[in-house]
């Protein structure tokens, strides 16, 4: 830094390239060029260097690998789109797709409704505001695997807390892991427990920017609180809703830690893969079967799913409260 400042003062900087002189009458030379023209690029270069190595390179190679057939002996053979056609007719892959979409749906819809409700409650005048907000956000600061372990125990068939509670209402013990829908519900509650409070805080932030006049006017016109919530709050939250829904889409479609932990750290996702997600399928194919090509193809199909899912959700959310 001090070198730069000195160079600016002294009239004879070492090796001043002429271009610099020609452009700037004061003539700060190479260092000045470095400071003004090159500095922005230098400042962003660490990010883009990493992006090249850990972003572009893997993405490109995943595409390249997906065109080859790998086997356990380590040989690679060109198959073109063979992996993709095989994946699209592989019932195990479709099973993972259905599971991923199913859990995404079961988890996300109640989560967003609950988050809205919770944000609305947080937006009222309450005592101990910070304490309440911290309580709501507490699940976010626990670790995913730890939470999944605890929930797995809570959902235990024989001594689980949840079956014990259900017993009060005369419900027979449910084998949460063994069947498809119960396992989806169990995993969805883990996700919702973690993210509902976070989304509520995001919604709350957006709610606080809605002009209060709108509510005053509405209440003078005799609109009930419920009506105000659906007619004013929800439509005004649309930009935030898009953020939250897209976030949930990406997170939900790449689900991995919860279902893996639910089955004791195994990516098979239950005896019949009844809760194996696409991410788990990718890991199973790539790192248990060592079929890198197949796993890479599945990764690209997952990406396609995320793009389509994001687009659909984006269009859906835009319609909330009518088109504007």
């Amino acid at each position: 830094m001090s070198v730069n400042v000195d160079a600016g003062r002294s009239t004879q900087a070492p090796l001043p390239p002429r271009r610099g002189h020609a452009r700037r009458p004061q003539g700060r030379g190479f260092l000045s060029w470095l400071d003004l023209k090159a500095a922005p690029y230098l400042l962003v270069s660490p990010y883009f260097l990493l992006f090249l190595i850990f972003g572009i390179f893997p993405l490109g190679f995943t595409l390249w690998y997906s065109l080859f057939k790998f086997d356990l002996t380590g040989t690679e053979e060109w198959t073109g789109l063979g992996n993709y056609t095989a994946l699209l007719s592989d019932s195990a892959f479709w099973n993972a797709v259905v599971n991923t979409l199913g859990m995404f749906f079961i988890a996300t819809v109640p989560q967003i409704l609950l988050a809205l409700l919770l944000a609305n409650a947080l937006n009222k005048r309450i005592k101990g505001q910070l304490f309440v907000r911290m309580g709501v956000l507490l699940p976010l600061v626990t670790s995913v695997v730890a939470v999944a372990v605890v929930f797995t125990q809570l959902y235990g068939r024989d001594w689980g807390f949840i079956n014990w509670m259900l017993d009060w209402f005369g419900v027979d013990p449910i084998d949460w892991k063994a069947q498809r829908i119960p396992s989806w519900i169990a995993i969805s509650t883990m996700i919702d427990w973690r993210w509902t409070g976070y989304n509520a805080i995001i919604f709350l932030a957006a709610m606080q920017t809605i002009p209060k006049d709108l509510y005053e006017a509405a209440s003078i016109d005799g609109a009930s609180r419920r009506r105000q919530f659906w007619q004013i709050t929800v439509p005004m939250l649309r930009p935030t809703m898009i953020f939250v829904v897209l976030n949930s889409t990406i997170g939900g479609l790449t689900l991995f830690a919860e279902p893996t932990t639910f089955y004791g750290g195994n990516v098979h996702g239950g005896t019949n893969s009844q809760f194996q997600t696409v991410s788990m399928f990718i890991v199973e194919q790539g790192f248990r079967e060592f079929d890198y090509g197949y796993a890479s193809g599945a990764a690209w199909l997952l990406f396609l799913m995320i793009l389509i899912g994001s687009l659909i959700n984006f269009l859906l959310v835009r319609r909330i409260g009518g088109k504007k």
Partner: protein, 294 residues
């Protein structure tokens, strides 16, 4: 206008109505109380089981209060030969700290350039950052990254899990937004006229102003890195794990030894809870501020 009138006449009917609109109803209180109980319960339950014996953990009705076996159970976790728990805890601390410092620095540099320096291609590069935020790089790049690490003979080393995490588009985006809002352009130009170099402007003008943004990004990055599971599970070996991988080993090998596993999980969330209790106000403030700007 309307607000002004309402504010000037707090005792009119209008004023009272405004107060009613934002007051907590019993329904509000119930919703909040239930939420807090549900939020806290699994964590409380973790402590209850971690301080009991395995026999008590499977009692019907379940135990509701902590027992006296916590110390003993923690001992068992730390001395467990399959989990390498202490190594995992240390590794997670090293990884999360290194990643956090690097990401915050890299993002602050890039955010400064994107927000307050004009350069050719800057807009396009920023757009590129935004687009890549949508790509789930972890899933998309897992196979080539694994093979790269195998070729470099980095599998099982901390380098393998630190380097890929330094790529954080969200950080660059956040710091760009934050710098734009916290540092007026005039300030940068004034410093420039005074003859300050770019680096000096970064150090003397930008850095002091964006510190709160850096804190939010830092806490966020620390938590995400601490929590990550999929890539460490593949890139590390069980004898040199992260804390999540160590818990996974316990969970996989001692499935019904609940007190052992729960003591492990309880210790793994302790650092996060501590950070949260200390910086809760800033975390929530930053989250809400970021939500409105994004």
């Amino acid at each position: 206008m309307t607000t002004l009138t309402a504010g000037n006449r707090p005792r009119t009917q209008q004023g009272r109505k405004k107060a009613d609109l934002w007051s907590a109803t019993p329904w509000t209180k119930i919703v909040l109380a239930v939420t807090i109980v549900i939020s806290a319960f699994p964590i409380y339950w973790m402590l209850v089981i971690a301080s009991r014996t395995n026999k008590e953990a499977t009692d019907i009705p379940p135990p509701f209060l902590p027992g006296g076996n916590l110390g003993q159970n923690i001992q068992r976790v730390l001395s467990n030969e399959d989990a390498h728990y202490l190594a995992g805890l240390t590794n997670s601390l090293i990884i999360a700290t290194t990643v956090t410092i690097s990401v915050v620095l890299i993002s602050t540099f890039a955010g400064f350039a994107f927000a307050r320096l004009r350069f050719k291609g800057g807009k396009v590069l920023l757009l590129l950052v935004l687009v890549t935020m949508m790509v789930p790089l972890q899933q998309m790049g897992i196979v080539p990254l694994y093979r790269l690490m195998v070729n470099l003979e980095w599998i099982g080393t901390l380098k393998a899990v630190i380097l890929p995490y330094l790529l954080n588009g969200f950080g660059v985006f956040l710091m760009t937004q934050y710098t734009e809002q916290a540092v007026p352009n005039e300030l940068v130009e004034a410093a420039r006229v005074d003859g300050a170099s770019t680096l000096r402007i970064w150090w003397n003008v930008i850095l002091p102003a964006v510190r709160p943004g850096m804190a939010v990004l830092g806490i966020n990055t620390f938590m995400l890195t601490w929590n990550d599971f999929m890539w460490p599970l593949i890139a590390l070996t069980p004898d040199n794990p992260t804390v999540q991988v160590a818990i996974n080993s316990l969970n996989a090998k001692y499935g019904t030894d609940y007190v052992l596993i729960f003591s492990g999980t309880a210790m793994s969330i302790l650092p996060l809870i501590l950070v949260f209790v200390l910086f809760g106000r800033q975390i929530i403030g930053g989250l809400m501020e970021g939500a409105v700007k994004a």
